[in-house]
Symmetry: none
């Protein structure tokens, strides 16, 4: 089977000049690789007419799939549609489904429906329209000989929804792709190189049809097993065998698989054991609650939080004793354990969790440098706390503290 090649082109001066990070093309290349295509090249070009038209020409001649993102907005610097229409020699016509959708959105929000907005419903008559239910610019698909080009809006969530809802099926139908099966094993609480040491023997004996990738992100490492071949059942079974021999080596770090997130796993565990939870946050400043409530249906087990940033609130609203704070400091085992216990009692939940630490950039001392964080969890029988030594960066400390606290919850819940 021959390779199916893909070229991802991002249009926009804001990426070209480095004003924003190109997270779209990272996301797209991951998704497209997962489908079994080969990403041959990624390019970022300016929103100049000739650059866009030349890139369309070269890319559609050379690559099986070209994905173009950006330049579909309503303003004057958005000219991707014009370039596509000129290159493919089309005529702009109104797409009624898009027009009605835009009209409805504007009516609902009580916005003026301007000519510029109406023009977003114009599409070349020789493209297949990919309806964009989350935005006003539709996606478009063009064919050239045996290759295809898909143009998507640059707004990340619109681009992602359109890709998932429409493009995946189109790509699978159009191309003869090798059979690929991925299994992602998600770990937390161990760094990439230690993980790699733990599984090095296993890795050396891995079936030759399976490849392993380490995908580290802040506080977590994903392991991706990818099986290649011709027969899905056979590949799945090979990946399954590899996974079975891998898990016992790293079991305590594994929190989930594939699309699992730590906060969803905690939600499932809380539902399973019929427990609910409340949070007392200091240094994490709301991020733990934000993660927990990002899960649809979290109102079933999450009752609420107190973010006690000042000592005054810790004393008045969380009932921490003044003496404890002056004797041990707000960042201490004693205070964080009492925060977890008290929020549980106050909000009448089965479990209370808490964070208190020095996020930085100021507030560090010799004994408690920036990055010192205490986290705790309490139920009616147990209180467990843990000291973390994190980084010197405020943003990283907030995220890492939150991930560590959620992982503490996960481990605690598994003991029920």
């Amino acid at each position: 089977m021959s390779e199916v090649s893909c070229h991802i082109i991002t249009i926009g001066d804001e990426i070209l000049y480095g004003h924003i990070l190109d997270s779209n093309s990272k996301w797209l290349s991951e998704e497209i690789s997962l489908l079994g295509l080969i990403i041959s090249r990624k390019s970022t070009i300016s929103d100049k007419y000739n650059d866009i038209k030349n890139s369309i020409d070269k890319s559609t001649s050379k690559y099986n799939l070209t994905i173009l993102t950006g330049g579909l907005g309503p303003t004057n610097d958005d000219i991707t549609k014009k370039c596509l229409n000129d290159y493919f020699k089309g005529k702009l016509i109104r797409d009624n489904k898009t027009f009605n959708h835009i009209e409805k959105v504007f009516k609902k929000r009580n916005f003026d429906f301007t000519t510029k907005n109406k023009n977003q419903a114009l599409v070349p008559d020789n493209c297949i329209v990919l309806h964009n239910q989350f935005g006003t610019a539709p996606g478009m698909l063009f064919k050239k000989n045996n290759n295809i080009l898909i143009s998507l809006p640059g707004v990340p969530f619109e681009m992602k929804s359109l890709f998932e809802d429409k493009c995946v099926k189109i790509i699978k139908d159009k191309f003869k792709l090798p059979v690929i099966f991925h299994r992602i094993i998600k770990t937390v609480g161990i760094g990439e190189s230690w993980l790699s040491d733990l599984i090095s023997d296993w890795e050396q004996n891995l079936d030759s049809n399976i490849s392993l990738a380490y995908l580290p992100s802040l506080g977590m490492v994903k392991l991706r097993l990818t099986g290649h071949g011709k027969n899905l059942k056979e590949i799945k079974s090979k990946v399954n065998i590899a996974e079975k021999s891998l898990i016992p080596l790293i079991e305590k770090y594994v929190f989930g698989y594939d699309s699992d997130e730590l906060e969803n796993i905690i939600g499932k565990l809380l539902n399973r054991f019929k427990k609910n939870i409340s949070v007392a946050e200091s240094c994490t400043g709301g991020y733990v609650s934000k993660l927990l409530t990002s899960v649809p249906g979290s109102s079933k087990y999450f009752k609420g939080s107190i973010i006690a940033y000042s000592n005054e609130i810790k004393i008045k609203s969380l009932g921490i004793s003044k003496d404890k704070i002056s004797n041990f400091g707000a960042v201490s085992k004693e205070v964080v354990e009492e925060m977890a216990k008290n929020i549980k009692d106050k909000f009448n939940t089965s479990i209370g969790i808490a964070s208190s630490g020095i996020a930085g950039p100021k507030g560090g001392t010799k004994d408690k440098p920036i990055g010192t964080v205490w986290i705790a969890i309490a139920d009616k029988d147990r209180i467990i706390s843990k000291k973390l030594k994190l980084t010197e960066r405020r943003d990283l400390n907030i995220i890492l503290s939150s991930i560590n606290l959620l992982n503490l919850v996960r481990i605690f819940l598994k003991k029920y």
Copy 2:
């Protein structure tokens, strides 16, 4: 003066396949733009011999400056140096400064000094070596007619140091560069197309040396003015004049400039007026507090929050009357205004803010569909609330509610 064009090429499968985000090329393009070059294109290519050699050929023929990053490491998949040496028909010779440097590093760390490491000191005899004091792979500069190519290692801090210490001077000496000046104006509370309508007359009369770009993100639009010319003072003054005539047209939407963020601006306003703030969150689930506390030094004005996800907590901890909730519903003007007032009183702050809404995916009714959100702000004299009609997506509703609430705070504070 003619434009000096630049092409940035990143080599490496880990970026091509989307396993890591390409932050190197973002950094490089910002730095190179600031020097006055035009970033004409950015490309990511695989570490295959032919891809690299073809890209070197095309890029050095077309662009004044080509920057190549990656593929200079000691392992077998690092072949950039070989490609460069072959393309420029050089002969590999030992660079003694690099050799001595590597030898010293390895001795210091007690590492084995292998042939692979020694080979890192080999360089083509027709390049200018850019000594890398932070790593083992030197940078290299090649000339082709009037164009130059610079090859840099992919490790971010090595690349950055080499660029700053060596490349900036080389580029400034080599090219006659125009002067470029950027000014970013940040707006919130207005969509791209309405903004564009508001300023269309202004845009049409814009000085021909200044270009305008719209940079939309969720709930916000940035306007970027870029001035080109020969004299920095003159360009700055032209951009300044354009800005002065622009601002009155969109003043109520402008929250900041350049690197300002909404949460930082609110922090500055709170500090200026010596006010502090507390938050009562329902549907935003902690995200408003997270944004406020992401600002270093926020503990000076942010005292804390209650996240009252359940009605029980709204009643018990925020003191909302049961009757109010049963008469008007938790998502109502009456309840959200009382939330803002009560958190202010309870936490003894000058300002209290609140959110209550239906984030989804469940909980919508005919009268209050998913995306219905009430936000409020209260001080000792005023209570202001606002109803939002947002989207059907939980994640977007949480972010948009939070941005709207922060914007309400900004507008409220400006009236002091």
